[in-house]
Symmetry: C4
Subunit: 197 residues, 4 copies
Amino acid sequence: MNKSRLEAFSDGVLAIIITIMVLELRVPEESTWAALRHVAPTFLTYLLSFVYVGIYWNNHHHMLQLASKVNGTVLWANLHLLFWLSLFPFTTSWMDETGFDPVPTAVYGFDLLFAAVAYFLLQRTLIRGQGVDGPLARAIGRDWKGKLSPVLYLVGIAASFWQPLVGVGMFVVAALIWLVPDRRVERFVAEHGTAGR
Amino acid sequence: MNKSRLEAFSDGVLAIIITIMVLELRVPEESTWAALRHVAPTFLTYLLSFVYVGIYWNNHHHMLQLASKVNGTVLWANLHLLFWLSLFPFTTSWMDETGFDPVPTAVYGFDLLFAAVAYFLLQRTLIRGQGVDGPLARAIGRDWKGKLSPVLYLVGIAASFWQPLVGVGMFVVAALIWLVPDRRVERFVAEHGTAGR
Amino acid sequence: MNKSRLEAFSDGVLAIIITIMVLELRVPEESTWAALRHVAPTFLTYLLSFVYVGIYWNNHHHMLQLASKVNGTVLWANLHLLFWLSLFPFTTSWMDETGFDPVPTAVYGFDLLFAAVAYFLLQRTLIRGQGVDGPLARAIGRDWKGKLSPVLYLVGIAASFWQPLVGVGMFVVAALIWLVPDRRVERFVAEHGTAGR
Amino acid sequence: MNKSRLEAFSDGVLAIIITIMVLELRVPEESTWAALRHVAPTFLTYLLSFVYVGIYWNNHHHMLQLASKVNGTVLWANLHLLFWLSLFPFTTSWMDETGFDPVPTAVYGFDLLFAAVAYFLLQRTLIRGQGVDGPLARAIGRDWKGKLSPVLYLVGIAASFWQPLVGVGMFVVAALIWLVPDRRVERFVAEHGTAGR
């Protein structure tokens, strides 16, 4: 089954999620630098979620390049991932508007965690279609980033009930780890080529 | 005529519909689990509509794979389907905000029903271009799901005037029936290949 | 220059315009059929604009199939068209919320008119790249629909100051004329093939 | 790595940005020409940002045609550009709603400046992948437009604190310079062909 429509639909949903969040940036009523500084926390929160959607888009892009078979299960595993990502505008907004209160910060962390689990399930589904010595399994290798980040999310969630900003700090660290571009797939493609369309 | 733009436009509209509904999720003002639990019905209603748009996207994807000829009638049959789907944010929102009152729940059911009819008409239009022994007609076969779900919608609409939540239950059942991936088209493609671009 | 990105960008913008208008449909506060009937004028106005965007998408689709050369001028002629179409949510909303008052109805007509002019200019630009005996010029032929509809818009605008609903009637008639699928391009493609990618 | 998904995602984000801004156009409550004239400054501000997004889309389109290698660094350089462009609805809105006050006008200029810097960095990243005598570097040449516009933005920002409308005038001039279609890439493609997919 053709994977290009799966990519196009995912691109559309991710493009909308990433852009909708900017609507949360309420225009200040005053015309001063102080008013802009007042928006700064919202701005930085928006930036964090923007980076996360960017990370998911990048990883999705890389992963799909090595996928060949796309069946009904893959489509639903992908929609499951998009569902948790589509809640980002909501969870980001709640965390931001309550000024990083414990529960909303933890809920933001749960959204990150569920999205990570959904991504992992999508990856498993794609690998199952290729076998454990298929290109995707070999390119991903030990996947230490994929294993470390849920731990960071869980630590961040726990920390939120004690010091929410420490929780947010964990989420920022997890994002930074992913920001380092993932050379595994690129190196693999350079050596073996993609799975084709 | 090229079908890739029809797919791209439909993907765009469906991606927007599925993401716009999340905007209905109003951020709670309080920072408690109780406040989040308060959003739960809205969340579940949003999930139901998300799943329905996902089902339509999946089925659309499968159906178009076996379509070869795309003419002006197909374009309008497709826009007709997108019209009823684009009303989902409205009907979902009305049903949710009135707390599942009879009329809004029935109207939600009518939206499901009209979308199903529009999908059926699009399918007919595509089959007419191929003949009754064309790949699409043979892949679809008896189409018991396509015949059962309008019945469930009608029963759900009727039930809404008596016990709205029973009506919603019907809509959930109809969604679950579709969630089981439709192997007909996949099996057909595996055996005979797609209709090409 | 590759035309597929022009198509993809236009599809995206048109998909958003067509879906954004549904956001104008305010959810009624009451749960009665009467409340729904109250939304009916808005619903029908939305339907009219939905059909117009659909018409533009269809015609754009057909026209681009016969286009081969896409240069910078074509890109800007296309953006010019998208600009007037992107004002539809605004003009539709104003006309609807004022209950079809003269000025807003006329402004809606002007938006239709400017979009038609922009479409005509885009068509001219594409034909100029092919020569007057190129495939597009030959497929379009006398273009009586393209010549009649601006007249209908102008008559509708004038009528708006006298009886706005007569003006709206003109806009409906012009839409109906276009709803009849345009066989010219299809027939031409069937005989001569498309201009390729 | 395949560049078509990078293009599709960017097209989606740009399409949403350009269309979201129209939502800032608040429908007037009265039905008079005077009420419409009242919206005129907002309309013109929206037009300026529409043109800027159009310019970025056009230039992005041209530049990517000559790009061959797309790696992780390119994906992030592209997301960086999209980030600053996605702030346009916010900065446009603030400048407009405060009636072109000094600080919001300067902030609008900073958004233009940061987007220009991000575009420049994306261009550098792409050129680095090809070498300084690669097709992109040769097509761009001396890039006087790319060097002049940041100067105009800086002058405009400075002028905003003295006479905001002079600042806006600078931003309009910079847009007009880009509106003249960029023949460099087109000429280059006509002579040497694109970099392929």
